[in-house]
Symmetry: C2
């Protein structure tokens, strides 16, 4: 027997479900970063590792306008603005905040539909966690604030807006936050403010060397241990 990978569709959005060999200990929703999609090698490596080493079932869907999914005219304009700002060495934060908020508005119902589709198959009692940085955090924070089936979450690399802080304050489940200490694109203060804002009494933060594209493998394991600790039946 091997761990396995299946494609599913929920409300018209395609996703991948990685399953462990035996009964899954939990379902982990794994979001991808901005500009990537659910087939990104870093994501698939983490998903398979979580299935193999932690007995997690892992589900991932592409964000709107990412991977094979079409961009609307506003998405395209914001992607262009983002590239221009990056090329000119200007801060990408204001564009990211606006663009990701618009993506999150569409993505949150898609993650809910994913749960609706997968839970009957995995057993309605399976504990659910969420993990993902940058774009996946801009989506995951409003998701965790409004979706009681998410019982623990790993976030990181947030770009702060008042709306995001408001959503963070409404989260009361355990949260683990990743803060890449030497990130040139993300403001350290944003990470500390959103961590402070979480309404959770049980919250941990890990800062580590490098940027958000270079999360060390031991942090991937620490995040899994956090999820395992809080999702244990």
């Amino acid at each position: 027997m091997h761990d396995s990978m299946h494609t599913f569709t929920a409300s018209g959005v395609e996703g991948t479900l990685w399953s462990p060999v035996g009964e899954p200990a939990a379902l982990v929703l794994m979001g991808h970063g901005g500009g990537l999609d659910r087939t990104h090698p870093g994501l698939t490596a983490r998903a398979r590792h979580y299935a193999a080493e932690f007995d997690f079932a892992v589900a991932s869907i592409d964000a709107p306008g990412h991977g094979p999914r079409p961009r609307n005219a506003r998405d395209s304009a914001q992607v262009t603005a983002l590239r221009d700002a990056r090329a000119a060495g200007r801060s990408i934060a204001p564009i990211v905040a606006e663009y990701n908020a618009s993506l999150a508005e569409r993505a949150v119902p898609e993650w809910r539909a994913t749960l609706d589709a997968l839970l009957p198959r995995l057993g309605p009692e399976i504990p659910v966690g969420y993990t993902g940085m940058t774009l996946a955090t801009q989506i995951g924070i409003p998701l965790a604030a409004s979706e009681p089936r998410v019982r623990a979450a790993v976030f990181g690399g947030a770009v702060v807006s008042e709306a995001l802080l408001d959503a963070a304050r409404r989260i009361t489940v355990p949260v683990h936050y990743l803060l890449p200490w030497d990130d040139h694109e993300l403001d350290r203060g944003d990470g500390l403010s959103v961590f402070e804002a979480f309404g959770s009494t049980d919250k941990t933060l890990h800062a580590f060397p490098g940027g958000h594209r270079e999360v060390p493998w031991f942090e991937v394991d620490d995040s899994a241990r956090f999820l395992a600790r809080h999702l244990a039946a």
Copy 2:
């Protein structure tokens, strides 16, 4: 065979050495917090856990003026000032910074003498780490800045002074920093400044709920994993 505990004396200072069942993987110097000593139940539990689960030899000595060790007149005056400030609800930070700097000046040579005494017994090639919060951090930072035998260190709960930041800048070995997020006596900003100051390229920080007297057990294990990762032969 069991793990074992021995008393040793180095330069007139008594210490305890906890040893694992087999060959130790590393020697961990474990300092105690202010007002405590090396027999504190929290410390002895961590020391035995590190020996049993991580194959570390663990050594601890009492800080000057702590446990059975005499206080000089200045120490006594500062302990009184500290108690008065605490009782009056005033910040203890300025007193702690001055008192602990004076203790550190005396304690650093004592930790060196401890290494001189233990390394011939444990094998001169055994990798050495240091761990300890609050007072043990005020002592450990100047120790790690000046003692090349210390190859990785866990700190936390620092009270910042210019001298402490200078010492932190001179540390280049891997450092792991513990930041109790809800501490009423320690300034969060002090922790972030000292973490930023460390000269180490490999540094990680963990923030967690509660104060410095309530470090969760999973952080004790994370610190051991950090030491194991960096002290592996």
